[in-house]
């Protein structure tokens, strides 16, 4: 029996080592391969950076168009998901109405577990549908991607709003009643500001998710070598999609180097957002647990 316990202990230590080795291996590998290529040239190629950013000069040999596309999709997704998610989260936590909110809760869970490719397929079907009915020349593009991505991250936003509001102490609600506030006033002036950090952590988390997902944008308008999008209905490049295409069909060592650079940039971005979300969430918990 004693050897059994010892073996179990050994097994646990071995398992604990695996993610450490894996994550450090991943980061070190990416740094080793991509570090040399990092620099302004990776982003802008031969184009002067300021021209590329402010005058929309075309960039031929850099990942700036892909970064721009990712920022644009993420922004549009945030515009869709943040207001919807915020109000829906408030509804679920503050106005529970028996069966109806039960169904809604189930819908949100369903949406949270939905594979992202389904969201992409939905966007694709939406375009097919529009083509057959109202808009014969509808095509995939930035706006569609942003909308579908917004749907993908919506449950994160709802859940974090709901749990932040739910985690507030009961006194705050009583305070609102004590001051003669109506329910909506209590929510607006007391509960939302108190839950602010928690809700912000949800916002940041959703943005991180929207920046990294590839499957949605693959079916809704991301293409290789599109340059900067000319409008909301134009196709665009995006970082995750760029990484995917490099892995599938790179032709020169420079291109591969750009792929590693893009992977490093994307990883740094999601890592930063994750740490920020984590910090905000922690701050929120600390503030309300003490009292």
């Amino acid at each position: 029996m004693k050897t059994g316990y010892r073996l179990f202990s050994l097994f646990c230590w071995a398992c604990a080592l695996l993610p450490v080795v894996g994550v450090f291996g991943l980061v070190v590998f990416l740094l080793k391969q991509g570090w040399g290529g990092l620099g302004l040239e990776l982003f802008f190629g031969d184009t002067p950076p300021l021209d590329a950013i402010f005058r929309f000069a075309p960039v031929w040999d850099g990942i700036w168009p892909a970064c721009f596309g990712t920022l644009a999709v993420t922004g549009l997704a945030a515009l869709t998901a943040i207001p919807l998610g915020l109000f829906c989260g408030i509804y679920l936590n503050e106005f529970p109405r028996g069966r109806l909110s039960g169904i809604l809760d189930f819908c949100v869970n369903l949406l949270a577990g939905m594979p992202s490719i389904i969201m992409g397929l939905f966007g694709f079907a939406l375009i097919l549908f529009l083509r057959h009915t109202l808009v014969p020349d509808a095509g995939t593009g930035l706006l569609l991607s942003g909308f579908c991505m917004g749907l993908l991250v919506l449950p994160y936003m709802i859940k974090s709003t709901q749990s932040s509001l739910g985690g507030l102490p009961e006194d705050l609600r009583l305070m609102g009643t004590g001051l003669g506030f109506s329910k909506s006033q209590t929510i607006r002036h007391i509960l939302l500001p108190s839950a602010g950090r928690g809700i912000m952590s949800g916002v940041v988390l959703s943005i991180g998710r929207a920046a990294e997902d590839t499957a949605v944008i693959m079916l809704t308008g991301a293409v290789a070598n599109a340059g900067l999008p000319r409008g909301l209905f134009d196709n665009y490049e995006a970082l995750p999609f760029f990484i995917y295409t490099v892995a599938a069909e790179y032709q020169s060592p420079e291109e591969l180097q750009h792929g590693f650079g893009a992977a490093l940039v994307l990883l740094t971005m999601t890592m930063g957002l994750f740490l920020a979300a984590h910090g905000l969430h922690h701050a929120m918990e600390k503030r309300w647990k003490r009292g």
Partner: protein
Amino acid sequence: MYRTADRRAGSLWLLACRSSAAVTGAAVLAILLFLLWFSLPLLDADTLSKLLSWDWRPFHGGFGILPMVAGSLLLSLSALLLAFPVSVGICCFAHGMGPSGPAACLLRLVKFMTSVPTVVYGFVGVFVLVPLLREAFRSGSGFCWLAAAVGLAVLILPTIVLMLHSQFMLIEPQVKLTATALGMSPAQRLLHLVMPNSGRGFAAALVLGFGRALGDTMIPLMLAGNAAQVPGSLLESLRAMTAHIALVVATDSQSLAYLSLFACGLILFLSTTLVNLGLQLLKRPEEDKG
């Protein structure tokens, strides 16, 4: 005067909440309806028999999606088989088998893993894992079932660990006093008290991990080789349903090929719904108890 203004603001507030809730519900419904609508032509017996076959050769009239269904199942189950024992080990390390400092760091690291983009996992897989497998087994290109299974296992590991961790957190306080009073070692406590009492958590972690593995697109797409066949061994390539959807949209536009997309989409949607129902069932009785 103020009162009416307040009331108006209040009702506006409620309206915003209600309409957002309605839009969210409608979106989920719309996704289901769209998938159903585009899969309607499937109900034709002839089409259905063509799609439900083992033969995918779009240029010779073969549009069977069964290889993809089998591929998805094999891949997710094998990834689960790889990730689950390791996750249990990690969780036990974090709950008493390891020193507390490193244990907390380990949990933080696992949480951090959730933030790594799947396309980055796929990318590193293509340039590390695939050459490694190609060298080690000296057969094929290295893009195979095994590569994708390892990649997916890494991807779903944090999901499983965090689920188990939250279950252990529930059980641990209940048994800690008893275990200490009986003079049990951490290994004894975990093996004889905590784990036998976490059946529900184990089941939920399995279901959740399976759902995650089934739904991921990038890792099967980048690592599995994508041949539409049932793999004969771990070193042969396969194609998952998610990868199939991504691949076919990108290439051709024949009508039966499109239909096969929506058939795959519908299967994925339904299995996600089942996974979700399963999770809810696993959660419910516990809440009643508490």
